[in-house]
């Protein structure tokens, strides 16, 4: 398939906006039925080491993550703000996309800090008439994770 750049931009814009609004079900709907989601510290990636901070190699595991976030995990009370750079279509076919991102977190007192920065390296597929994430690889530049990582990058 070839991807319409405007459709790609729209997908990334919605990705960040839905996470920042904590609309995780709608966010999950941006992923294909068969999908993966990995957050990999850059120090592992560069050494060819496979361990991830978040390792979801199936949609079931990604859904479990969100369920755990709601039902079990406790974390710092905060809001997220994603700043996602312009996605770069890496192939003529437009199915591989890279986009840099920064994620700021703001606590209850209104103090904001840079929480994470890195690169999305994604494979997209058309499914049900729209573009979806097939594989999302998040290369985490800021791999000395501040405090803890609960809400998705």
């Amino acid at each position: 398939m070839s991807a319409d750049p405007v459709a790609v931009w729209d997908l990334y814009a919605r990705y960040g906006a839905l996470l920042d609004a904590a609309q995780y079900d709608e966010w999950l709907a941006l992923f294909a039925a068969a999908c993966s989601y990995h957050i990999v510290p850059r120090e592992n990636w560069e050494r060819g080491l496979p361990a991830a901070l978040v390792f979801c190699d199936s949609r079931a595991m990604l859904e479990d993550r969100i369920r755990a976030l709601r039902e079990a995990n406790r974390f710092n009370i905060h809001s997220d703000r994603h700043l996602i750079g312009l996605p770069r279509l890496m192939t003529e076919a437009g199915v591989t996309v890279e986009a840099p991102f920064a994620l700021y977190q703001t606590d209850q007192e209104g103090e904001t800090r840079l929480f994470a920065t890195g690169l999305y390296r994604d494979r997209l597929v058309g499914e049900g008439g729209s573009l979806k994430f097939r594989d999302k690889l998040i290369l985490l530049d800021s791999f000395a994770v501040p405090s803890l990582l609960a809400t998705p990058l």
Binding site: N44, D57, S58, D64, R74, L148
Partner: protein, 418 residues
């Protein structure tokens, strides 16, 4: 500096908040514990398989490098140039034939000895060092390093007891159990926590919090305090093994009753991918959880089939890094490696059963600061003597940690328990 009368109770059941916040105490810890006679967990031989392989680490805040020399022996030394105090090896890891300081190119061998100094004799007979300068006395300060089944410990002290004596029989046995065959490094996790390093050291010894703070354990049925388990310490009670056996039917029935009162969901919500919490026994024993804390800063973790080491790296009185190495075994088939990579979701800064530690430590650090004379309460499992327990609702190993801390700092109170 504090004295022995800092302690409200000689069984360490009350710890003044000052001990987490006073910069003077922090400096004393660096000197008397980390640079003192403790053995510090450094890293793993598996990280430096070949001659010339090196890796950066720390002892407290002291930068340290360990490497494998030409003969295959493991060496470790302080990563600080004898000339002007600069960091010599700036990379985290790599392979090299020598270690050369960036600043004036002083060159050290893999054993840390000083090999060459540029312009040592000056140029055209002018400048340089005096001929009496003794190269042999200006190497990188050595770290005494010992390996137990490939787990490297180091000390800067000449007075440290032998490593095996320091660890004690149960901890040495637990390390031999976890490292009973060659390991494979799967990767690293780093977590920066805005809290004093001792809050993390205590946390790893606190059996009581595990299934309460980390609700995922009980909610999704990975581990519950109703399972058979307990705490086992070394003779001096400075280290601790928190352990549990895989759940039995009777445990499950007890859990329904116990957790009802604790306001923790315990109804075995099912995961869509249940292998995340599946334990595949790897040994004849039934141990499915073992968190081994070695004073001051080493932690060795088995949670189901997720294996890791952790090093607590103090970064000033108000912050620490938890540096975690994710492991498998060298002979794991690919399917087992995949299982471990999936179960690594449980640990680390994004860990389903560990992320909460970052928050708990930060809120404890934040709220305790303004009131240095107020104290914690450490009484789960009772006060008084410090001893092993065959139950899980206990935090007695925290008192063991503090008793040895007090000994090394030199502030043991009258009639102190050990």
């Amino acid at each position: 500096m504090i004295t022995a009368d800092i302690w409200p109770a000689s069984d360490y059941s009350r710890v003044p908040y000052r001990l987490y916040h006073d910069p003077e105490i922090y400096e004393a810890e660096q000197e008397r514990i980390f640079r003192g006679r403790a053995w510090n967990f450094l890293g793993l031989e598996a990280e430096i398989p070949n001659p010339g392989d090196f890796r950066s680490t720390v002892i407290g805040e002291v930068p340290v490098v360990f490497d494998r020399d030409e003969s295959g022996a493991v060496k470790a030394f302080v990563n600080r140039c004898a000339h002007r105090g600069a960091l010599v090896r700036r990379e985290i890891a790599g392979n090299a034939r020598e270690h050369i300081c960036l600043y004036h190119q002083w060159c050290y061998g893999l054993d840390g000895s000083l090999k060459a100094i540029p312009f040592r004799r000056g140029i055209k007979g002018k400048g340089g060092l005096d001929p009496s300068f003794d190269m042999g006395r200006h190497g990188l300060p050595p770290v005494h390093v010992e390996s137990l089944n490939g787990v490297l410990f180091g000390t800067l002290s000449e007075e440290a007891e032998p490593l095996e004596d320091y660890l004690g029989a149960p901890v040495a046995a637990q390390l031999r159990r976890l490292f009973d065959r060659p390991v494979r490094i799967l990767g690293y996790h780093r977590q920066r926590i805005r809290g004093n390093w001792k809050l993390y050291a205590e946390n790893t010894r606190d059996n009581y919090h595990a299934s309460l703070l980390h609700a995922f354990f009980a909610t999704f049925g990975l581990d519950r305090s109703t399972q058979k388990g307990g705490v086992t310490m070394d003779g001096r009670h400075r280290h601790n093994i928190t352990w549990a056996e895989a759940e039995s039917e009777a445990d499950a029935a007890l859990a329904r009753e116990a957790y009802h009162a604790a306001r923790v969901r315990h109804d075995y919500l099912t995961l869509r991918e249940p292998s995340l919490v599946a334990y595949r026994p790897e040994r004849a024993d039934r141990i499915s959880l073992a968190v081994t804390s070695v004073f001051p800063s080493g932690v060795f973790v088995q949670i189901a089939n997720s294996l890791a080491t952790r090093q607590i790296r103090p970064r000033g009185v108000d912050e620490c890094e938890v540096f975690q190495t994710i492991l498998g075994y060298a002979d794991d088939p690919p399917e087992m490696t995949l299982h471990r990579l999936r179960q690594a979701n449980l640990v680390g800064p994004a860990g389903l059963v560990s992320m909460e530690d970052g928050e708990a430590i930060e809120v404890a650090h934040r709220a305790s600061r303004p009131d240095p004379e107020a104290t914690t309460v450490i009484e789960l499992g009772g006060g008084g003597i410090i001893s092993d327990r065959d139950y899980r609702v206990t935090d007695v190993p925290l008192r063991g940690f503090w008793s040895y801390w007090a000994e090394l700092i030199g502030v043991e109170p009258e009639g102190a328990v050990r």
